[in-house]
C-alpha cells in the first residue's frame, strides 16, 4: 500500500510529467511511525510519546510559573492549528481529487492544466506561496489572515493530494474499468462506482501522512500573524522573555499531537492492508 505514496521532500518540480512516475515508500515526512515488526522503532515511539507527555505533566507541577501559565495560554492556538489543518486538508482533498482526475484524463487540455498546477505549486516553497497570497495578492484583494492561510495551505497541499489521487487511481488494475464498461456503465459511472471506492481505501494512509505533514507545516501561518500554536507561544515569550520555556512547551505539544496521529495512520495502514484489495 505504502508504495503509492509519492515521494515528498526531494521531488524536483521537473519530474511530474514523466507519467507513471516511480513511486517510492517514504515515511520520513511524518513522525516516527511505529511498526510492530521493529521493536527498536516501536520503543522509540513510546519513549518519545510518553516522554513528552510526562514532561508536559511534570513541568507545570514542578515549576508552575511559567509552565502552567504557558499551558493555560496556548490552547487557543491548538484550536487554531487544528482549524487551519482540518479545513485545509478538506479543501485540498477536493482540489486533489479534481487534479488527480485531470492528471489521468485523456482530455489534453484538462491533463495539461492539472500537470502545470502540480509542477508550479511543487516548485514554490510553501512559505513563498503563503507570502504571495497574503502580501502580494493582498495588494489587489485583501483577504483575512486566516482565509489566506487556509487558502495557501489548501492550494499547496492540493497539488500533493493530486499526486496521491493520481497514484491511487492508477493503482486500480485496468481490468476493473474494462469490466465496468463491458457491463454497460459509462466512464463516469465506472469511476464513481468502481474506481473511486477502491482508490479512497488505498489512499487513506498516505492522506493521513499528508494530514500530519500539513499540521506541522501549518506552523508557517504564524508568520502572517495567525494565532496558531506556535504564534501563541511566541506571544507569551515576547511578553515574559521566557523563550526557552515557551518554545519547549510548543515543541512538546506538536510532538504529542503528531506522534499520536502517526500511530493512527499506522493502524490505518495495517487495516487497509488487511482489507487487501485483490
Amino acid at each position: 500500500m505504502a508504495e503509492i505514496i509519492p515521494k515528498r521532500g526531494d521531488d524536483a518540480p521537473g519530474d511530474v510529467s514523466s507519467s507513471p512516475a516511480r513511486l517510492t515508500v517514504n515515511v520520513s515526512d511524518g513522525a516516527l511511525i511505529p511498526d510492530r515488526g521493529e521493536r527498536s522503532l516501536f520503543s522509540a515511539w513510546r519513549i518519545s510519546f510518553f516522554g513528552a507527555i510526562v514532561l508536559l505533566v511534570t513541568l507545570p507541577i514542578v515549576s508552575p510559573s511559567p509552565y502552567l501559565e504557558i499551558l493555560r495560554f496556548i490552547p487557543d492556538g491548538v484550536v487554531t492549528t487544528f482549524q487551519v489543518t482540518i479545513l485545509s486538508i478538506l479543501i485540498s482533498l477536493v482540489i486533489g481529487l479534481i487534479t488527480g482526475l485531470g492528471r489521468i484524463s485523456r482530455n489534453v487540455v484538462l491533463n495539461r492544466i492539472a500537470t502545470i498546477y502540480v509542477e508550479v505549486i511543487r516548485g514554490i516553497p510553501l512559505l513563498v506561496q503563503l507570502f504571495y497570497i497574503y502580501f502580494a495578492l493582498g495588494q489587489i484583494v485583501q483577504v483575512p489572515r486566516l482565509t489566506a492561510a487556509i487558502l495557501a495551505m489548501s492550494i499547496c497541499y492540493g497539488a500533493y493530494m493530486g499526486e496521491i489521487f493520481r497514484a491511487g487511481l492508477q493503482s486500480v488494475p485496468k481490468g476493473q474499468m474494462e469490466a465496468a464498461l463491458a457491463l454497460g456503465l459509462s466512464r463516469r459511472q465506472a469511476l464513481r462506482k468502481v474506481i473511486l471506492p477502491q482508490t479512497l481505501l488505498i489512499i487513506l494512509p498516505p492522506v493521513g501522512n499528508e494530514f500530519i505533514a500539513l499540521l506541522k507545516d501549518s506552523s508557517l501561518v504564524s508568520i502572517i500573524a495567525v494565532a496558531d500554536l506556535l504564534r501563541r507561544g511566541r506571544e507569551f515569550a515576547s511578553v515574559t522573555f521566557e523563550y526557552f520555556e515557551a518554545y519547549t512547551v510548543v515543541a512538546l505539544v506538536y510532538l504529542v499531537i503528531t506522534l499520536f496521529l502517526s500511530k493512527i495512520v499506522s493502524y490505518l495502514e495495517t487495516w487497509v492492508q488487511k482489507r487487501g484489495v485483490q
Binding site: 481490468g175 474494462e178 469490466a179 464498461l181 463491458a182 457491463l183 454497460g184 462506482k193 487487501g276 484489495v277
Partner: protein, 250 residues
C-alpha cells in the same frame, strides 16, 4: 461479403492495427457469423488476435477497418450508443475482474441498478437466483478475496448474466484457474450452452469444445484459417497450420 441478417454476431473484414504507425497487425480481415444459440470456440496460438477479436465485439477495442453487428446494430458505427450494445453483450475475463470492494451479490446488482435503474429488491432477487444457478447461493455476502478462483469466475459469469445479455463472450475463462477448479466453471458454461445462450469462447479446453461447441474457429496471425464442427476440425483438419497447432496442444 455483406451483412448477414440471420446472425446474432456478424463480423466482416475486421482489421486491427496497433502501434504508432500501425505496424502490429492483430486482426487481418476476419469474417465470422455467429447464429443465435450457437456456441463458437476460438482457438489459436498466442498473439493470433483471439482476444482482440473478442474485445472488438463490445468495442473495448476499436477496429481499424471492417464492421461488426450485434443483433442487427452496427457496433462499429462511431455514432452508435455503445453502452446500449454492451448491456446486451456479457463478457467474462481470464482474470475474473470482480469488483473487490463489493460482495458477490453487489457485484451482480451494481450494473443492473446503475445502468438499468432496477429496484434494489428486484435486482437482489434476480441476483440471488443467478448465484444459485452457478452454485454459490451461500456466498452472497462473501467478498471476492474470500472466494476461490473457481468461485470468483462463477460469480463473474453470473455478474455478466445479470444484465440479461444476448451473447456471452469468454476470454480464456479457465486459464488462470488451478486444474481442480476448471471443471466447476466449465460445467456452468455447459449449462449455459444447453439453455441456448449464444456464446463466443476463447479457450483450449478440448473437452468443452467437443461437448458444447457448434463450431471451432482456428485463428493464426490475425486471420481465420479454418472453421469447422469440433470433431471435423480436431480429427481431420484441412489446413497445414491447423494440424500443426492441434498436434501441439492435443
Amino acid at each position: 461479403m455483406a451483412y448477414n441478417s440471420d446472425t446474432r454476431v456478424c463480423i466482416r473484414g475486421a482489421r486491427k492495427q496497433f502501434g504508432a504507425s500501425g505496424e502490429i497487425v492483430a486482426l487481418n480481415g476476419v469474417d465470422l457469423d455467429v447464429y443465435p444459440g450457437e456456441v463458437v470456440l476460438i482457438i489459436g496460438p498466442s498473439g493470433s488476435g483471439k482476444s482482440t477479436l473478442l474485445r472488438s465485439i463490445n468495442r473495448l477495442e476499436t477496429l481499424s477497418a471492417g464492421d461488426i453487428w450485434v443483433d442487427g446494430a452496427r457496433v462499429t458505427d462511431p455514432a452508435i450508443d455503445i453502452r446500449k450494445i454492451r448491456e446486451d453483450v456479457g463478457m467474462v475475463f481470464q482474470a475474473f475482474n470482480l469488483f473487490p470492494h463489493l460482495s458477490a451479490l453487489q457485484n451482480l446488482t451494481m450494473a443492473p441498478r446503475t445502468v438499468k435503474r432496477r429496484e434494489k429488491t428486484e435486482a437482489d432477487r434476480d441476483a440471488r437466483r443467478l448465484l444459485e444457478r452457478v452454485g454459490l447461493a451461500d456466498k452472497e455476502h462473501a467478498r471476492p478475496d474470500e472466494l476461490s478462483g473457481g468461485q470468483q469466475q462463477r460469480v463473474a459469469i453470473a455478474r455478466a448474466l445479470a444484465m440479461n445479455p444476448k451473447v456471452m463472450l469468454f476470454d480464456e475463462p479457465t486459464s488462470a484457474l488451478d486444474p481442480e477448479m476448471i471443471k466447476e466453471v466449465l460445467d456452468v458454461m455447459l449449462d449455459l450452452a444447453k439453455e441456448g445462450m449464444t456464446m463466443i469462447v476463447v479457450s483450449h479446453e478440448m473437452g468443452f469444445a467437443r461437448a458444447a461447441a457448434d463450431k471451432v474457429v482456428f485463428m493464426d496471425e490475425g486471420e481465420v484459417v479454418e472453421v469447422g464442427a469440433p470433431a471435423e476440425l480436431f480429427d481431420s483438419a484441412v489446413e497445414e497450420r491447423t494440424k500443426r497447432f492441434l498436434d501441439h496442444i492435443l
